[in-house]
Assembly symmetry: C2
Homo-oligomer: 217 residues x 2
DNA sequence: CCCCGGGTCAACCATTTGGTTGATCCGCCG
DNA sequence: CGGCGGATCAACCAAATGGTTGACCCGGGG
């Protein structure tokens, strides 16, 4: 059986070292390269491809201090020919993050506090073209289905995120290139789904239900 | 020269592995033990002390998913006899975090995205009883001193907390037994100090600066 | 003693938000 | 095809919020 070759993408040297140490303990898995942000990741991928030395799985963090963020990078990678599966490995478990990652074409979502064995399983699954979800994330999704989740659309979640940064309706409208009227319509829908009747309560509710991340990240 | 013996405290196995790998590459430094939260860290410290095998430096994360958080743990450790210096290694650089850590008795504050060499220097400094600040943190503190913080009154913080739960001015007024007019006056003061001009932005700013905790707790 | 800052309140007005109704467009599904 | 839901927008009105001015009380420090 061939080695599964991995590209690590994380802006923290400590985390990269940890993953490298952890993964190299596993048979059948090797770390082919590392990158500190999305741009570097794309460069590495292309470089290794032209060397005829392609990577099998990309392990990607979502929050990157500088440079291209994880979601954008994932989308870019999926546009490549012979794009390797991208496995998200991050700290945050909010709907917004998970949805954005899945929409960008991620083939798995793991949390950083996962035990090594789970990460290994996820890498193997991703390499085999399967979907890999952290038990926590899976449980979270099951819970969402069981308790009739408010089911916000991704557009609504997007507006909610802008809302949480303190932007006015007008500012949100400009930022998203829609009219103020539309923003208000969305907000009314959001209030209804969250069972609140004003924007601050919406932020509070959405944060509590982990639909979006807390304002201060 | 004796080895500097370290206790790693972090709830992420990945990060612990990374630090272990990184530190063991350095001469004169060895990882004596690991712990996933504050409680475990205290137990480890005591265990190693009674074995006559004390640790020289504690490397502590601030954000711990479950169990005792880093600040509390740091304070507890400093209460021990022959307490080792505690070096904070975390992701967040808000003044509230830094201040809390320093008040708790931390002897250094590093960020996880620091290059290995900086972390090594910090460990050496801590072991020698010196203070070690990441360049980023040092710059940040200088900046804070130059531009003094807004300094909200405790009453203002109290209203800010209610604000963050999504309450209207009227609701806040009732809850705090003051008039709506007074609530508005306070809010205007708060906006001024935070440099914003509406309630949602105030929540965002206050959360970011860790003046209040995020709506979702 | 007097001033200052924090907390309290009122009145007023402009702007923003919230809430409603109705309408168009588009893609998906049965 | 017909219908449904998501996204878009307009117009309108009521209510809440933001912003200002001025005022009062009280406790602590110069």
């Amino acid at each position: 059986m061939n080695q599964i070759r991995i590209l690590l993408v994380d802006d923290h040297p400590v985390v990269r070292a940890g993953l490298r140490a952890m993964l190299s303990d596993f048979e059948g898995i090797s770390v082919a390269a590392e990158a500190a942000d999305g741009d570097a990741a794309l460069r590495e991928l292309k470089r290794l491809q032209t060397l005829g030395d392609p990577v099998d799985v990309v392990l990607m963090d979502l929050q990157m201090g500088a440079g291209m963020d994880g979601v954008t990078a994932t989308a870019q990678i999926r546009l490549l020919e012979a794009a390797p599966p991208v496995l998200i490995l991050t700290t945050y478990d909010t709907d917004a993050d998970i949805l954005a990652a899945v929409e960008a074409g991620a083939s798995g979502y793991m949390l950083k506090d996962a035990p090594p064995e789970q990460i290994r399983q996820a890498v193997l699954a991703a390499a085999a073209g399967q979907t890999a979800l952290a038990p926590k994330i899976a449980a979270l999704l099951m819970n969402r289905i069981a308790n009739p989740a408010p089911a916000l659309t991704s557009r609504e979640i997007q507006l909610l995120e802008l809302l949480a940064t303190g932007m006015s309706n007008r500012a949100i409208a400009k930022k998203t290139f829609i009219s103020e009227a539309t923003v208000k319509t969305h907000l009314v829908h959001i209030y209804g789904k969250l069972g609140v009747d004003n924007r601050t309560a919406a932020i509070s509710a959405a944060t509590q239900r982990r639909i979006i991340r807390a304002p201060g990240q």
